[in-house]
Symmetry: C2
Subunit: 252 residues, 2 copies
């Protein structure tokens, strides 16, 4: 058995999840905390490589003794979150823990993941959501939000999403299945929810940049279908900043 933990983190101060030399990453602080908690070096494997500045309301990772695929501990499972948090910085928290079989893989066992993207669309910025959303000064009316929602619906289904992948990515299989999408007004925010069995590099951020073009009235909602079919990155919108992106749910 190895340990599966649920994390949440504010990504602002981190160069993403994945360990890198001379850069602070979430994986590194979790690896350090695990060593302090369990008393030996651990391998921490995440469900996704989030980018620099991207947040997580729910991120999953397994913890195993270094070089092994299992973890043995006398710490009662229900006490693991709090024990972990004693060794983590304030912007990272473990919210749940359970043991899973050794053939469980935090990335390959995922059925689907949900991301949320927050756009703040008021004229003046909100200090409390600085670095936690994409601030666009243009305020979208209800009709614009409806259009963005209609546009997002064209993404649902099994498609080749290479038009929505960062140029230069080396991934060969660019077919993914989007389970559902939703664009709604939430106070001063426009909130995009999108779930898929997997995401290409920068996919949600490019989708967001494209939906904003729809909101501005520069792109008709039904054009999304054409952009998917065209498989040309240049036809989609710009890449929205990382600050508004949250990994929100991971379903196994």
């Amino acid at each position: 058995m190895k340990l599966l933990i649920d994390l949440s983190f504010v990504g602002t101060n981190y160069c993403g999840w994945q360990k890198q030399k001379n850069k602070l990453t979430v994986q590194e602080v979790v690896t350090d905390a695990a060593k302090k908690l369990f008393g030996f070096d651990c391998d921490i494997t995440g469900c996704s490589r989030t980018d620099s500045g991207v947040h997580a309301n729910k991120f999953c990772a397994t913890v195993a003794k270094k070089g092994e695929n299992a973890l043995q501990t006398t710490v009662p499972t229900e006490k693991i979150p709090r024990a972990f948090n004693n060794f983590l910085p304030e912007d990272v928290a473990v919210n749940g823990a359970r043991f899973v079989a050794e053939d469980f893989h935090p990335r390959y066992s995922v059925i689907f993941k949900e991301y949320v993207y927050l756009i703040y669309d008021r004229a003046e910025r909100d200090p409390f959501s600085s670095k936690r959303c994409w601030h666009v000064s243009h305020e979208f009316d209800d009709k614009a939000v409806e259009k963005m929602n209609a546009a997002a619906a064209y993404l649902v289904g099994k498609h080749d999403f290479c038009a929505f992948m960062a140029a230069g990515s080396k991934i060969e299989d660019t077919v993914r299945t989007v389970k559902y999408t939703e664009v709604v007004r939430d106070g001063g925010f426009i909130k995009l929810r999108i779930a898929a069995d997997g995401f290409l590099y920068n996919m949600v951020r490019i989708i967001t940049g494209t939906l904003v073009e729809v909101g501005y009235g520069k792109l008709a909602p039904e054009k999304i279908a054409e952009i998917i079919e065209g498989r040309d990155r240049r036809a989609a919108g710009r890449t929205a900043p990382p600050d508004g992106l949250y990994l929100n749910e991971v379903i196994y």
Copy 2:
């Protein structure tokens, strides 16, 4: 005429509102921004001296040319918020601006102010509300929240609040009128709202510390009346941390 601006700020990185030597304060960054915007030194007068780490959803301040009680500018009033924000750090924003008479005083002209205090009462901490609430690990049930609400109601009215003032304060007149109070559950938070014509030093934070004792069942709600009457700081609860306190509304 002088200028009245509405501000919001995340207080975490500031040693409160009031300018101090060798310490970063909100008044200082606003004063610097005003000089850049208007091209001359300005006097910025705030509605309140918020403490280190305290936040504001709405804070009011007047802007006048240094040494004068008036401001003349060619910047159209409706463009002042955005123009100000160009010169302010991300954790401070100007949200509104209007001109007021020279006998208007941002502190003395206040009819009442409303503060909000946020308590986060889940076992594990939330990285996104770090430094923006008081995290108590004990979860309060509905009955406890009702008791806290009932206890807070005893504060309403004109009372001598010296039991709820930081020891060592030199203020002589400790009578204030509390307009309304409310304690409600808001997701993972307990939210206290309290409005008064004025507040003593640390008053809302000591009230919060006392209400938490009520929530824990250590203090009956009706004891609040006795604590007010007793005028003894030691009978009230501890001072809650600044992180959960927000100046929320200023009514002139």
